[in-house]
């Protein structure tokens, strides 16, 4: 910083101001404002505000419905009701099961597939597109298609099973509480494994060949190469994918709505579907309770995010 102590006081003051204006630090601050404002504005207006409003309503009971709604502050009563709501906990459990189990299905499968492909060949390029296509379809339509597949009367799955002589395994896949959720998890796995595969393919291809070759020469078996070399080298990618996968499964809605609607016996009810049902399909359109469900879920997610970030030990590699 330039020294200004030798200049007269009046000038000193003026210089200080203009110094600030052209100083690198102010440009730096200006830059931050410039870069961050648009995003923050979007975020504050379209996301933060609705969330805060939701949280506000969670402490109220909203008598009367519509524009004349009167929001009565009732403190924690809604939260107590949510806490005692068996359906909420079932829904929360289902959502968490979905979110926690999917990474362990989609990512290992994706990795396995990525490893079976050889770099750069035409088949690889072709399969990369083919295996990615489920990702491109809207959830609702995927739901409709798989509802047809799982249909117990004329669906593809039961057809195939009977043709393979495994007729005894035939069941109402989406109609039995025990199999409904796993069946839907298979669908989301179908949708997203290709995505993981494509990313992991790139990550694995980035591993220098010499490393792998020298390992083979040293007599390492395939699974040792996998565990000791490949996985450590792609760990950040795996972590990223697991987070994205987890996030995606926490939000699943359209798929359920197009198939089981939360049934049978709440076995596929998630927080998203339950919130919507309470907000739009209950006998009153009282907003307070569904807002409490949503807010409760938000707090839970917040805690999980913080825990996840800590667990993955993401040191801030910020350099500037």
């Amino acid at each position: 910083m330039s020294s200004i102590s030798s200049i007269s006081p009046a000038k000193k003051h003026k210089n200080k101001l203009s110094d600030i204006l052209i100083s690198k630090k102010f440009t730096y601050s200006k830059a931050i404002i410039l870069f961050l404002t648009p995003a923050l504005l979007f975020y504050a207006v379209f996301i933060l505000y609705p969330v805060i409003e939701s949280i506000y309503y969670s402490f109220c009971k909203v008598e009367v419905f519509g524009v004349n709604a009167k929001a009565q502050f009732i403190g924690l009563k809604n939260y107590i009701d949510v806490f005692n709501d068996k359906v909420f906990w079932k829904a929360a459990a289902n959502t968490l099961i979905w979110a926690f189990s999917s990474p362990f299905l989609e990512i290992p499968l994706g990795l396995l597939l990525a490893l079976t492909l050889k770099k750069g060949t035409n088949i690889t390029k072709f399969l990369r597109v083919v295996w990615f296509t489920p990702v491109l379809m809207p959830q609702i339509v995927v739901g409709i298609i798989w509802a047809w597949i799982y249909n117990s009367e004329w669906g593809l799955l039961n057809e195939v099973l009977s043709k393979l002589g495994l007729g005894v395994l035939q069941t109402a896949w989406l109609g039995t509480p025990a199999t409904a959720l796993p069946s839907l998890i298979v669908v989301t796995t179908w949708m997203w494994t290709g995505f993981n595969m494509v990313i992991l393919l790139a990550a694995v291809s980035a591993i220098p060949n010499e490393l792998l070759e020298s390992a083979h020469i040293d007599g390492a078996k395939s699974y040792q190469v996998l565990y000791k070399i490949i996985i450590p080298m792609i760990k950040p990618v795996l972590a990223n994918l697991m987070i994205l996968c987890f996030i995606g499964k926490m939000k699943v809605f359209d798929l359920i709505w197009a198939t089981t609607l939360g049934g049978p016996m709440w076995s596929t009810e998630t927080v998203a579907t339950y919130t919507v049902k309470r907000a739009f399909y209950w006998s009153t359109f009282e907003k307070g309770y569904p807002s409490a469900i949503a807010s409760m879920w938000f707090y839970l997610i917040l805690i999980i995010s913080i825990a996840m970030t800590a667990a993955f030990n993401r040191k801030e590699k910020l350099e500037y």
Binding site: I20, K25, F26, Y28, S29, I32, I33, L36, T37, L40, L41, Y43, A44, V45, L48, Y49, I52, E53, Y56, V64, F65, G66, V67, N68, A69, K70, A71, V87, A147, Y150, N151, S152, E153, T171, A172, W173, L174, G175, T176, P177, W257, T259, T260, L261, G263, P264, M265, W266, V276, A279, F280, Y281, W282, S283, T284, F285
Partner: protein
């Protein structure tokens, strides 16, 4: 680490806080002002000289053309008046309506149903409906008035109405050797016995599907409870007055459990949708179809749109007579239309509805849609054999307002629906179901 002077950090945080607060303020004010504004300058959907109508039935041509006819007649009488009709699926319509009502952008006329989950009484209780008594009160059938009125005002035009009946495949009955007695009804025992006869003849006794409608599992059960337990007990269920452990109610549940065990329902019932269940019945391999009379709307459309073949051996009958000889049944109002109080053209909107309500339109409704109506109509003027069969089947029934779950608290109803669906899917036994229902009932009685 961060190489910034203290001043810069201060400026920074200040500015950022300002930005975010600005964003929040801009939007934060809206909440308060929304609540207090009723007819202010906020954009409302309705304008002078234009009516907006939101309706379900986006994929039912017969109903669409009926509405189209009413709109045409209205426009003929009111030249220059615009009418905009938007078609939705019920599911999304409900969401759209509730969101728009909360933001003062509701349409002038909209579809609603007085019963069934996603119920519309909230619109009524929140004083959002325009009183239609003057314009359409005179056209509403007496039995339907209780559904259409609330605290002295008429809030909806009850277009669609239906009741539960047992549709059946006459050929299947013949092949299985099941005789329908001269009285026109099987007895409960005969019904139970017929299950194994149908199975031996290669038919699935019932077509049914509980996947996409919560109430499907309870169609049969509801009528059985009514016949077993009688009027008072049945009507006492929603309020929690009647216990599920009441011997007749328990017997009804056990009856359905027994026939389920005997294989009455398709094994995959829980993954069959309402539309599918119709299609399966039309396909001919299912002997009976416990359904409500909106059946007509789905059956009598061209086959390539999912309808029934013209030569399908359709039979209609009522459920078995109750133990005490009662022939109780119920009728409910389905799809209807109401006018929003906030509409700028409420009177004109009501006028449009009158064009749907006149006796000749009521007749048109029944003929186009092949279903019943809550409007006043002289049913003798309808010649169609299907209606003759309907009337024959229900001729000496005592009609109550229904359905049973109409007045149930939503959580209680949710348990009832879920357990009923599980019961007919063979995933729940009577004991467990009664236990869960009693638990839910205890919460209601509070």
């Amino acid at each position: 680490m961060v190489r910034q002077g203290k001043r810069s950090i201060q400026i920074m945080s200040m500015v950022l806080t300002c930005v975010m607060t600005l964003g929040l303020l801009l939007t934060g004010c809206s909440r308060n002002s929304n609540v207090s504004q009723n007819s202010s300058s906020a954009s409302t959907k309705t304008e002078k000289g234009k009516l907006v109508l939101w309706s379900h039935w986006a994929d039912e041509d017969s109903k669409k053309s009926f509405v189209g006819e009413a709109v045409k007649r209205f426009k003929d009488k009111n030249p220059g008046f615009e009418v905009e009709v938007e078609w939705y699926q019920k599911d999304k319509l409900i969401t759209a309506l509730t969101t728009s009502f909360q933001s003062n952008t509701a349409p002038d006329i909209f579809y609603l149903e007085p019963s069934i989950t996603g119920g519309f009484p909230p619109f009524v209780e929140s004083d959002l409906m325009y009183d239609l008594s003057k314009q359409v009160g005179q056209y509403i059938a007496p039995w339907a008035m209780p559904f259409a009125s609330y605290k002295g005002m008429t809030y909806l035009l009850p277009l669609e109405a239906y009741m539960p009946l047992l549709y059946y495949n006459k050929d299947a009955f013949k092949k299985a050797g099941v005789q329908v007695p001269a009285s026109g009804r099987l007895s409960f025992d005969e019904l139970k016995d017929s299950i194994s006869k149908f199975k031996s003849a290669g038919y699935t006794p019932f077509s049914a599907g509980t996947m996409d409608r919560p109430w499907q599992g309870s169609i049969l059960l509801e009528s059985v409870i009514l016949r077993f337990a009688g009027k008072d007990k049945w009507q006492g269920i929603p309020s929690g007055k009647t216990a599920w452990t009441d011997p007749n109610v328990t017997a009804a549940i056990k009856y359905v459990e027994d026939i389920t065990k005997a294989g009455a329902y398709p094994s995959g019932v829980a993954s069959i949708k309402l539309g599918d269940s119709h299609g399966l019945f039309f396909g001919g391999k299912y002997a009976m179809f416990p359904m409500k009379t909106f059946f007509g709307g789905r059956a009598f459309v061209p086959v390539e749109n999912g309808g029934m073949a013209k030569d399908f051996p359709l039979g209609v009958m009522d459920y078995p007579v109750g133990k005490d000889g009662n022939k109780l049944s119920f009728m409910q109002v389905g799809g209807s239309y109401g006018v929003a109080k906030s509409s700028k053209n409420a009177e004109k909107a009501a006028e449009l509805l009158t064009f749907m309500a006149t006796p000749d339109m009521a007749k048109l409704w029944m003929e186009k849609v092949m279903g019943q109506t809550g409007l006043k109509i002289d049913e003798t003027t309808i010649a169609d054999p299907y209606f003759k069969a309907l009337n024959e089947a229900s001729k000496d029934t005592d009609i109550l307002p229904g359905p049973m779950e109409l007045m149930m608290d939503a959580t209680y109803r949710d348990v009832f629906f879920n357990t009923s669906s599980a019961l007919v899917a063979g995933q729940m036994n009577a004991e467990n179901m009664i236990k869960q229902l009693e638990e839910a009932r205890a919460k209601v009685k509070k």
